[in-house]
Subunit: 346 residues, 4 copies
């Protein structure tokens, strides 16, 4: 086991709810359990590369648990994208050495995990936490930010339903999810939605039309269709086309033409990742942050703290950063939607 | 004074929060105060034209006060648009006579007021209520739906602010308001926003850029810009061009190019008019509904129930339906934003 | 007109939502419009007496608009209660002179208005703002904090209704309001409640029992009864007895015994005054704060900024501090509840 | 495997959020997957004893997913308490036979599980679902209702914090939990609270006083203390005394006397179990309901559907009804609170 005297901390990638809760937990536990000094880097890896950081103390993290965003700022490192990965890693390690960092905790998504892995392989003690509203990081069944995003999407669906109902309209609601349909599935179950289209299941427009018509035949001309950003038709999937937002726009027209029912699109974008975290995300981010410190104290690093079967586990960074975790075809939420009579487009 | 034995009731135009609260108030008071039978028409004027209605009783309106949408459905009468106004009025009166209607209460926006006026001029006792999230009906200082829409827009701005802050971005938030900037102003004050662009004040992009740069110079690279759907640049205004959504899209690019700060757009559409009404809209819709019944009982009709200087007043339908009520240049909200340091684009 | 170079600012009495919004508005406008330096006193009049204050700048009030509570702290001056009013006033003026205060803006309730009046009469330029969830300050039709408190009470009533309904129970919900029934009335309308008991209308238990039984006879064994803290029975009123909370406890037993329906009590206390202000309170507090600065700039003082007929007006402090503004018997909310079939206990 | 042609359904015990979501899932899946007719009993076991039920169809459960309470009503069977358990079971089976029930799904808490077990032992095919805001049913790591109750308690704590802070007060917040401290712990983590007292850890008042004084010494005179209903002092625990609410009342006085800091109590009661379910409870209740139907279709009964290690599992009714599941001393939430610096009273 190695003593951690100075611990670095940063938030990278797109922000989401729960980042501050995790920063607070790491800071408090690192001071209390390890007796460490905590340095928070500004704007993600950008701050690490520049050695741009400040000391975080108990007072700095007081009252931030429920705040949206991140008090450290975040960055996607674009300013540095010209540089080769090796070069970025080398410079990061130089700064880490210059600042006397004994370890680094990185909060981030998919890209963060990959860069963290490179740092770890270069010799830095790194532990990461999985944050993304998309919930698609491998090695963990849940990421913080997801619960909050689903809450916001569900609230929007509820609003859209009352107006869909009053106007006997079909309302499409596009939610984030380029590679994976987690938000769409969960919000579709909780909304509830009548049709849910996700990237993992290429849809046939005719199947969606048939579902809407079947509802209309039962006297329900209004319907809610939740579409993940990355959903695409079977034809587009077969042809290898990806279109994202354009697909939703086209689908609105196709459905309206085929059903004769007024159809409208609402796109939920950045609002899904903003504002105060839900209780679920507060607890998750806090527990993950505490576990990161515990692992470092126990000499474990080079891992992401994930949750599997309801328990916190260390996940090798190689696994965590190995691409998007998509929804498996037999997932219980897919099964649930089918059993409740929802259409998944296939 | 005239006895009202049978009272018709309908909701027309785009739906909004508070319609059910008003339907409940009218139904309960018409039964209790007037001893009247209430007939609710389905899908707005479409139901009136077709005589498609049902009796509303105490049990029908129990528990609907806080429900979004309208239990009667609404319609814009498009199916009938081919017909001349005279013809629609004549057929409506035939149905009213056939059903024995002694009076009609219409909940609706601008268009509703105009059709109601035609009905009134043709001899039907009509009282209307002003509903629209846009808050732009003449003769009243507030419409129900507005408070709820501002609440939703404000909540979205709060979410956008945390992510704008974390990423040091400019976030544009487009809200409804084709002709009038009421939602943008109120949400801009409550959000709060740093820039608010409304149809009544054509904006100069340079002024907005200067405001964003002034903030950046004070160390605040993030900003919130609220844009009403109908806002347009001074150049477009001078040329008589209206562009709505396209203007917001273009503005995003212009601001990003000129400031060098990452800029993103979020468009709040149908979610603004859905879901449960706020407390403010519940009270307003309820009071307006009760007043409509009181007026009819007192023999007053051919009017919209409006609020002026905080009091309920009957407003001639000719005034109510005379076009959009825009924000006067000296309105206290405009003054307030300026005094608080916000930019209005001029 | 008099130049205001240094402006004092304090929040006194029980806190409520909107205080920070008003502090922000006063600070920003005093700097921008008057070029004044703003000094914020800690913990209300206690800070004034001790000269305990700090300079407030734009950065101090950034981001506080939507925060609950008050960044200055508040106090009821109890520590000083032993002292005579004259003495407190004299010492306050000494501090004001020592600090070079040209004027003072006080945010507070009933008691605050009275002390402010004494300061004004002793020669200090004072403008006050009406804050209290109870909404019972004279000279204004609305106080900030009220809208937020009604929102919270209404949300609680909605929660109580679902459980009342499931269990076929009567739920009493006690809300704040010692002298005036404003919160109970508004929340009773918005909830909605079936019975609303307020201090202004002494209730007869038999009338309440009859209302509950009438509902049960129509198949509705569940009911919601909203009781203001200061509501009392006609017998207690006649005998000059006040009991507050004890009255609600006794009423629960009386109703359960008389109706045979399970009856439960929920008391909403401090939660009503906490958390973020509603949009309505943000706008009101902001506008009142701006108006206070405008009045001072125009040489007007010795007044509270009130709202009458929807317009901001200066109200003499003598009127503002002259006791609780109770609900007049003919108020439109009382009328509305009666017309909707609610029982007011008489 | 046995065919289920007629399926009974009931909700018993105290209501909570998610009951309707579960009723909807069971009804839809029983019709679609089993082709069964669903009979919903009114008011819990009371309805079963009386044969008081109605058929539930797709339209009956449309739109109820997010509704608080239960459309079937619930009852604690008190009217029947005089009868012996054997007699109640015998009469229930008679009704089940008379109605041709092939199986029964019961949604309920601890007591429900015990009665369900008796029914199962007498030969009825029974599957139960764990519902209780207290989260204390054995054999499952989570019950529906819990997430919603924690959400409401957390929101209340956030409100209390702003007013505690403004007034430099200690705020005690009492939450439900007679036997187990789950709500207090989760809300204490999410709030966050500075002191959390639960039934499982008898508290020493001196330890709480020391924690409050330590905060005051760091300049933070305000604190939030969350107290579970069943928390008690070490002295009371040693003497075998239970006092519930009285303990909280006494603690307020003790803390105020010992610290000299103004201390106030807020009791959150029935509001914790009312209103719309959170997204988490919607998903959980839906999935549990679907699993109940799947188990019955697969010939499994005599079990509660529980969740263990994040997976749905059948739990023997004997285990489910064997008393309250208290928080184990080494639970990760207890550990988390300690590591974050909170006081647990010991």
């Amino acid at each position: 086991m190695h003593t951690i005297r100075t611990l670095g901390l940063l938030t990278a990638g797109g922000d989401c709810q729960g980042l501050n809760a995790a920063l607070r937990a790491v800071t408090l536990a690192a001071q209390r359990d390890l007796g460490a000094t905590v340095l928070g880097f500004h704007d993600g890896y950008v701050g690490l590369l520049r050695g741009d950081c400040r000391r975080l103390d108990r007072d700095d993290v007081a009252g931030i648990l429920a705040q949206g965003g991140t008090i450290l700022g975040t960055g996607r490192g674009r300013a540095e994208q010209g540089a080769a990965l090796d070069d970025l890693v080398r410079r990061s390690l130089q700064q880490a050495t210059a600042l006397g960092l004994d370890a680094l905790v990185c909060l981030g998504g998919d890209g963060t995990q990959r860069f963290a892995r490179a740092l770890a392989e270069a010799g830095l003690r790194v532990v990461t936490l999985p944050k993304t509203i998309d919930n698609d990081i491998r090695g963990t069944e849940v990421c913080f930010g997801f619960d909050s995003a689903v809450y916001i999407a569900t609230e929007a669906i509820e609003r859209l339903r009352t107006t869909a109902h009053s106007h006997s309209r079909v309302m499409l609601c596009e939610v984030m999810g380029r590679d994976a349909g987690w938000i769409a599935l969960a919000a579709g179950l909780a909304g509830p939605a009548h049709v849910v289209l996700i990237p993992e299941i290429p849809y046939r427009t005719e199947a969606v039309v048939a579902a809407l018509q079947a509802r209309a035949a039962r006297g329900r001309r209004y319907s809610i269709v939740v579409v993940a950003e990355g959903a695409r038709s079977a034809a587009d999937a077969a042809a290898g086309r990806t279109q994202k937002h354009a697909a939703a726009l086209r689908l609105v027209d196709e459905l309206q033409d085929a059903t004769g029912i007024e159809t409208r699109l609402t796109t939920l974008g950045y609002v899904l990742r903003g504002g105060a975290p839900t209780v679920g995300d507060r607890l998750l981010a806090t527990e993950l942050g505490l576990e990161a410190v515990r692992l470092l104290g126990a000499g474990v690093h080079g891992v992401m703290v994930g949750q599997q079967h309801g328990r916190l586990v260390p996940v090798p960074l190689a696994e965590a950063g190995s691409g998007a975790r998509t929804v498996p075809p037999e997932h219980r939420w897919i099964d649930a939607l089918r059993r409740l009579g929802a259409c998944l487009g296939d």
